[in-house]
Amino acid sequence: MISSIEFRAMNTSVMLAAEGDGAILGMYATKLFIDDCEQRFSRFLPASEVTELNRYAGNWLQVSDELMELLQLSMEYHKSTKGIFDPSILSDLKQAGYDRSMDEIRAHGVHNLPEVSNRLSRPSFDEISFDIDNRRVRLPRGLEIDLGGIAKGWIVEKAAQLLHKYVEACGVSAGGDILFIGRPQDGMDWDVSLEDPRTPTELLTQLHVPAGAIATSSIMKRTWSQGEKVRHHLIDPRTGEPAKTDWLSVTVISPSVIEADVFAKAILITGEKDFSGLPGAKELTFIAVDSNGNLSGSANYKDYIYEFASESI
C-alpha cells in the first residue's frame, strides 16, 4: 500500500508518497526537512541564507554546507549549459516584475515598470569566489542570485533520499519536479501525468517511470502582466528578457532530478533551434510541448508514454 501526503511549500504543491512500514514517520520527517530548506533558500524570505548572501555581496560570508553544495552545483551547471542556466539573472527577473513571490504578484500585481537594466555592467555568475576550507563564499559586489532554478530539484533529491531511509520505495514531487527511489511492491512503474501547459488542469498524456527523476519547466505557469507585456519567469540570460521560445513546456527524464530540473529550463530557453548546442542535451530524454499541444522530443521519449495514451497523441 502506497501512502501519500500533499502540502504547500516553496510557493508550490508538494507531494510525498511512500510504501513501507516507516511511511508515515518518514513522510513527516521529510516534510519538516522541506520546510526547513524553504526557510534557508528562498529569496523572498528576508531571513533566508540566500537573502543574507545577496545582502553581503562584496564580502566573504560563511555559509552552511547545504548552501555551499548548492552554489557549487549551480556553478557546474552554469558551465555545462554554457551559461544558459544562470542564477545571477535575479536583477533581470526583478526588472521584469518578479520581485515578490508569485502568490503575492497574483494577489496584488507587479510593482513598477522596469528601470534601466544593469545587465551589461554587472558581474557574471562565474565571478563568485569560494573558500572551501573555511566554507565561505563571496559574491562580487553588484551581483544578486536566485537559486530558484536549481534549489527545488536539490531539495527534492535530498528529501527523497531522506524518505528512502524509512521505506523501500518512495517518490517526492515539488511543483512537478519528481524523484522516485525504488519501485512499488507490485513491480509496476510509477505513474506521472503530463499536464497540458495551455490548460494545466487538463492532462496531455500519461507517463511511466521505473525510478529516477522527471522535471518540467513551463513558461505558462508563472506569468503576469507588466504594462502591456505578458511576462514569465524564465529569463534568457543572453537577452535579460523572458525567453522567447517556440515550446510552452519541456519535460526531462533523468536519473538526477537536479539535472532534470536544470536541463528542462535550459532546453526550454534555447528552444527547438538551439537546444542541440547544449552539451549533453542530445543524450537526455525530453518531451517538448508546443503551442498546439503537439509533443516532440528526444528519440526515445515515447518509451515513457503508456501505449493507451500514445494512441491518442
Binding site: M15, G176, L194, L203
Partner: protein
C-alpha cells in the same frame, strides 16, 4: 441594693415576656408563604451519550494497519491509495 436587684430581675422578666408576646402576635399576622404554581413544569436535561474510548491496547498492538494510520489529525491529510497521482507541468 437588694431592692435594685429585685427591680432589675423584674424588669428583665417583664421585657422578656412582652418581647415574646410581640413576636408571637407579629408572626401570627404575617402573610403566609406563596404556594408553588401548578403552571410551572420542571425540565430535565438528559446527559449526553459519549462514544466509548478506544482500548489502550489498540495503540500498543502489533497490528500492521496501525502503521498506516495518521499520527496526527492535522493537515496535511494522509491517505492510503493504490497509486498516488503524480503530475508534472512546471511550477
Amino acid at each position: 441594693m437588694k431592692f435594685l436587684k429585685i427591680g432589675i430581675r423584674f424588669w428583665i422578666t417583664i421585657t422578656s415576656v412582652l418581647s415574646f408576646l410581640t413576636g408571637w402576635i407579629m408572626l401570627a399576622h404575617a402573610p403566609k408563604p406563596t404556594q408553588s404554581s401548578s403552571g410551572l413544569t420542571t425540565v430535565v436535561t438528559p446527559l449526553p451519550t459519549l462514544e466509548p474510548l478506544n482500548q489502550l491496547s489498540t495503540f500498543g498492538s502489533d497490528d500492521d494497519n496501525f502503521q498506516n494510520q495518521p499520527l496526527f489529525n492535522v493537515q496535511p491529510n494522509t491517505r492510503a491509495q493504490f497509486r498516488p497521482a503524480f503530475r508534472t507541468g512546471g511550477s
